[in-house]
């Protein structure tokens, strides 16, 4: 089999010299790749310090460019939004940046930053708040006090509140404009039911937010406890540390975070949102793993094989390459502090939805039953180990990644030991992780597409039609 020889040769290219002896086909010769030396990657020295208030500061000095990036991760996030005021966290972070700070009105604060081309922002994710900036290193000492003002002395200007609130409501109401966005909302609601992780903002919930709610939310939830600050680039660490201590050292801790229990998916169920589009959007999912679950890396490897590796994944092969049923289909595994999500995302044209879903379920069922083959496992491990170098493309992306590891409580040597952990995954471990996740019966399937699809979907389970992503979902009896 010529293919096997060719593959073996090319895939071994990085490791050693292999002389080729291909039979002539009368066409071109197979490419020959000479030996290359193994790559020696050193994790650069991160320096971690702790401010008096408890904030961990992760420094990565790099003088290649006259640039600095600073970012603070604070535990909390949109899961803290009060019921009936979903979207409050997002609105608060928008206003943190736009609403003025310290003694500066919004307009003066904006000008102070933009005159120096400082890109400062704040945002919210499910489990954390984030606030940071990028600037030229020569401006760092002047920008840090503005940053501290934003985080510790925000003005939450009333006029800006009205604008940000109106913009947020408009943005949320536009979620129903595209199949991608609307299925994302429905997926979260259906899979992460009975948990704040599944909540999402609506025009109504945002309209309930008053200025005093923003202030109260800010005071309760933004603070140094559990927070990690990343400082990367062309900096004098001692000077920056001293300035950070003077700006943040006396920041008092925020409220303790509530405990959360795992979500309870509404599945097995199909939610169908009729929308007159020519490309149907499809999301399938089950609960994934909790962060630090021992099966975390085996599941990552299994997911890589199933749908996480682009063209080489099983789903892509079966759905796109073999049948032309989709432009893209992939799968992701996202851990949370409670059980996270495992999701398959794709789209197809309306008349091939049945075939797409049949193939997708078949691939998932096969994988749940038998897991990856030995050869798939080896190839995935090799790819994941080789891809590791990509984390080091720039000091800034590396520091972002490392800081998120520190923030989420991963061991200090995670980066150093990651490749060995991937290599150590056995076929049985990958299969067990895939089976544990994919064998769950309470899956959810979210579809947005033309009205007439509803009857096609009935072949796969109980279908509930949804007319607004903001309404509560009907559950199975």
């Amino acid at each position: 089999m010529i293919t096997m020889k060719l593959k073996t040769t090319l895939l071994s290219a990085a490791f050693g010299f292999i002389a080729l002896g291909f039979p002539s086909l009368g066409f071109s010769k197979a490419p020959f790749v000479p030996e290359t030396a193994p790559l020696n990657i050193q994790v650069p020295p991160f320096d971690v310090k702790t401010l008096t208030c408890g904030i961990k500061v992760v420094f990565l000095k790099n003088d290649e460019m006259p640039l600095v990036s600073v970012n603070l991760l604070i535990p909390g996030g949109s899961i803290l939004d009060p019921e009936g005021q979903e979207g409050l966290g997002s609105l608060m972070t928008a206003l943190l940046r736009n609403g003025g700070a310290g003694d500066l009105t919004p307009e003066v604060f904006d000008a102070a930053l933009e005159d120096k081309a400082v890109d400062m922002s704040a945002s919210v994710d499910k489990e954390f708040f984030s606030a940071g900036f990028k600037c030229l290193s020569q401006d760092l000492a002047d920008v840090l006090p503005l940053y501290a003002d934003m985080l510790r002395r925000p003005q939450f200007d009333l006029k800006r509140f009205e604008t940000d609130k109106a913009d947020s409501i408009d943005e949320v109401s536009r979620l129903e404009d595209t199949p991608d966005a609307l299925t994302r909302v429905l997926f979260s609601k259906a899979l992460l039911d009975q948990s704040p992780y599944g909540h999402s903002a609506s025009p109504t919930s945002l309209s309930m937010v008053k200025p005093e709610d923003v202030l109260k939310f800010y005071q309760a939830h933004l603070g140094p406890a559990g927070s990690v600050l990343e400082v990367t680039g062309n900096v004098d660490e001692a000077k920056v540390l001293a300035q950070l201590e003077s700006l943040f050292g006396d920041w008092t801790a925020q409220e303790k975070l509530p405990d959360n229990v795992d979500a309870k998916p509404l599945g097995p169920v199909i939610y169908f949102y009729p929308k007159q589009v020519s490309q149907v959007f499809i999301r399938f999912g089950v609960l994934g793993l909790k962060r630090h679950d021992p099966q975390d890396i085996p599941l990552s490897v299994a997911n890589y094989i199933l749908g996480g590796s682009g063209f080489t994944s099983r789903l892509m092969h079966q759905i796109r390459s073999d049948r032309g049923l989709a432009y893209f289909v992939d799968s992701v595994t996202v851990p949370f502090n409670i059980r996270g999500i495992f999701e398959v995302i794709g789209g197809t044209r309306p008349d091939s939805v049945k075939e797409y879903l049949t193939v997708m379920f078949q691939v998932l069922n096969d994988f749940a039953k038998t897991g990856p083959t030995e050869s798939e496992l080896q190839q995935a491990q090799k790819s994941m180990v080789e891809e590791y170098a990509y984390n080091f493309e720039s000091p800034f992306s590396l520091a972002d990644y490392h800081t998120s590891l520190v923030f989420n409580g991963y061991p200090d040597d995670y980066l150093q030991t990651y490749r060995d952990k991937v290599k150590a995954v056995t076929q049985n471990q990958a299969a067990a992780a895939a089976s544990a996740v994919l064998s769950q019966k309470n899956w959810v399937l979210i579809v947005a597409g033309p009205e007439e699809l509803e009857k096609d979907l009935e072949a796969f389970g109980t279908v509930h039609k949804v007319t607004s992503v903001f309404d509560p979902l009907v559950s199975n009896p």
Binding site: T3, K7, L11, A13, A14, F22, F27, S28, A30, P31, V33, T36, P38, L39, I41, E64, M65, P66, L67, P106, E107, E114, D115, A117, D119, L136, K159, T163, D170, E171, S173, R174, D177, T178, Q276, V277, Q279, F281, G310, F311, T312, S321, R323, G324, L325, A326, Y327, F328, R349, Q379, S383, E386, E387, Y388, A389, Y390, F392, E393, S394, F396
Partner: protein, 507 residues
């Protein structure tokens, strides 16, 4: 393989010292008048392929951008989307990659071409025979099953992926086609070898099933997406003669009748080493890799057929405002475009700066006045060089109206803002701020090896000189507030404008 129509020169602005990239042992560096230099090694291989190398010592990866100055606007009549389809086909392998036996495969591929041609011919008839079309479809399916026995799916991608390849991708814009990948730095040989094979012996297998994938891409990006629909309507309305009037992905009816022999012919006409550019940025040394490049990519022959002659129709001056209404089940959006000259016309640079003054940051005029001030819009942005930058193009302004405000009232408010600039100009402070934004964006954009590789390749392939990457800031620095006032008055006029409205259909 994404269809990516971003304008790279927009990011190709520089002001800072890049000497930190270390001195090189080789050929060429450049200086801008501001004293900034980018130590790029420039080498033309024996077959004419231009190679640009920027060493980044200590970075364990290397990024590649292989750019051909051929894009969607070069598509033959009735074959819109062919350059993009060709881009997809370049991932299908070679005579030895992606197949168990090309000798067995070739006759099947030839037979598929015949069936596809007969299908096209039947569809062109005034009254196509459903029976005949069904028979042809069955025949094609049978051939595909036969072909399935000899094909090795996505083997080219698998080779790269298993060697740590990231961002294996490509895009086709109106002006250029680009192939990217980032690999561990010790995989340079692998890249050079595979790409030599890919360019010398490509096989466009699975062409007709891939047409369906491209059709899915079009449905997803354009037809099921309000922004995609609106921007396509703006292009096809604003341009009446320029090839920019056709979408880069192609019209659906053209996509579904594209033929493999057309792609092969187009490939030989346009993918010429002596017109291509390969930019390499990362942890490699020029002195080590140039000999390897000569032995590999330098050996790719130039086709014997004459190259495609560029023959783009020029857009005549627009003499009255045009409008178009697009109906889609979504909240309203508006895009408007004014015709503008292409890079490196000085007026184009002044319009780049005007774009920044209008909508970049909270202090910009339209954000400050229309979003925070009058609360007429919930978002507003501008861009230049749409949908390409090699021919005269558009200055585009997009906004989402705030609820209860009519699009026309907002257009009137925008007109008043523009009139103010046309009459009173902009301040030196505004100009300085815009310039600093542009400088900063460039520096941050240059952190990534892959972005920088694309900047270099784009400027060389599309604008003829990678040095624009360093010269752009000198050109911007030379602008005065009067230059900004002048272009606002000359280009941002009502007769020169097209407005595209997205509206929800009446129930």
């Amino acid at each position: 393989m994404s269809l990516f129509c971003k304008r790279f020169c927009i990011f190709a602005f520089i002001f800072a010292i890049l000497t930190a990239f270390l001195p090189l042992a080789a050929q060429e560096t450049t200086d801008s008048d501001s004293g900034f230099n980018l130590p790029v090694v420039e080498k033309v291989l024996q077959n004419g392929l231009t190679v640009l190398i920027l060493e980044r010592p200590g970075i364990p990866v290397v990024s590649f951008s292989l750019m051909q100055p051929v894009g969607a606007q070069d598509a033959p009549k009735g074959k819109t989307g062919l350059p993009h389809m060709l881009e997809h086909m370049m991932f299908k392998g070679t005579e030895t990659i992606g197949t168990l036996s090309y000798a067995k495969e070739k006759p099947i591929l030839d037979e598929m071409d015949k069936v596809a041609q007969e299908t096209n011919d039947e569809n062109e008839k005034l009254q196509p025979s459903a029976e005949r079309l069904k028979a042809l479809a069955d025949q094609m399916e049978k051939l595909e099953q036969e072909h399935h026995q000899v094909v090795v799916k996505d083997e080219l991608s698998a080779i790269y992926t298993q060697n740590g390849g990231q961002s294996l991708n490509a895009w086709t814009s109106q002006d250029a086609t680009n192939y990217t990948i980032t690999l561990p730095a010790n995989k340079f040989n692998l890249y050079a070898t595979i790409e030599q094979d890919r360019l010398s012996h490509p096989v466009f297998r699975e062409f007709y099933s891939e047409r369906n994938v491209v059709a899915q891409e079009r449905r997803w990006r354009t037809e099921s997406n309000p922004e995609g629909k609106l921007s396509e309507a703006l292009e096809s309305t604003a341009f009446s003669a320029s090839p920019y009037k056709d979408p880069a992905i192609g019209w659906m009816s053209d996509i579904m009748k594209l033929m493999r022999p057309d792609a092969e012919a187009f490939y030989h006409q346009t993918y010429r080493p002596d017109q291509g550019v390969l930019a390499i940025v990362g942890g490699v040394q020029a002195k080590d890799i140039i000999p390897i490049l000569e032995k590999t990519l330098g050996q790719v022959p130039n086709p014997t057929v004459p190259p495609l002659k560029k023959n783009w129709t020029k857009e005549p001056p627009q003499e009255g405002q045009k409008t178009v209404h697009v109906y889609f089940d979504a909240d309203p959006m508006v895009m408007m475009g004014w015709h503008m000259p292409n890079f490196p016309h000085p007026d184009g640079l002044a319009l780049d700066v005007l774009s920044d003054i209008l909508t970049t940051g909270n202090t910009s005029r339209l954000i400050q006045h229309l979003l925070f001030g009058k609360k007429l819009v919930t978002s507003i942005s501008t861009e230049t060089g749409f949908p390409g930058d090699r021919s005269p193009n558009l200055f585009v302004l997009s906004f989402n109206p705030a609820p209860k405000h009519s699009a026309d009232a907002i257009v009137a408010a925008i007109d008043a803002e523009i009139a103010d600039i046309q009459t009173n100009g902009v301040t030196q402070a505004e100009l300085d701020r815009a310039r600093r934004n542009i400088e900063s964006s460039f520096l941050w954009g240059k952190i990534s090896t892959s972005d920088l590789a694309q900047d270099l390749a784009y400027n060389q392939a599309v604008h003829g000189d990678w040095r624009y990457v360093t010269r752009y800031m000198d050109m911007v620095k030379a602008l005065t507030p009067d230059d900004i006032k002048k272009v606002a008055a000359e280009y941002l006029t009502s007769p020169n404008r097209t407005i595209a409205y997205l509206e929800r259909p009446a129930k």
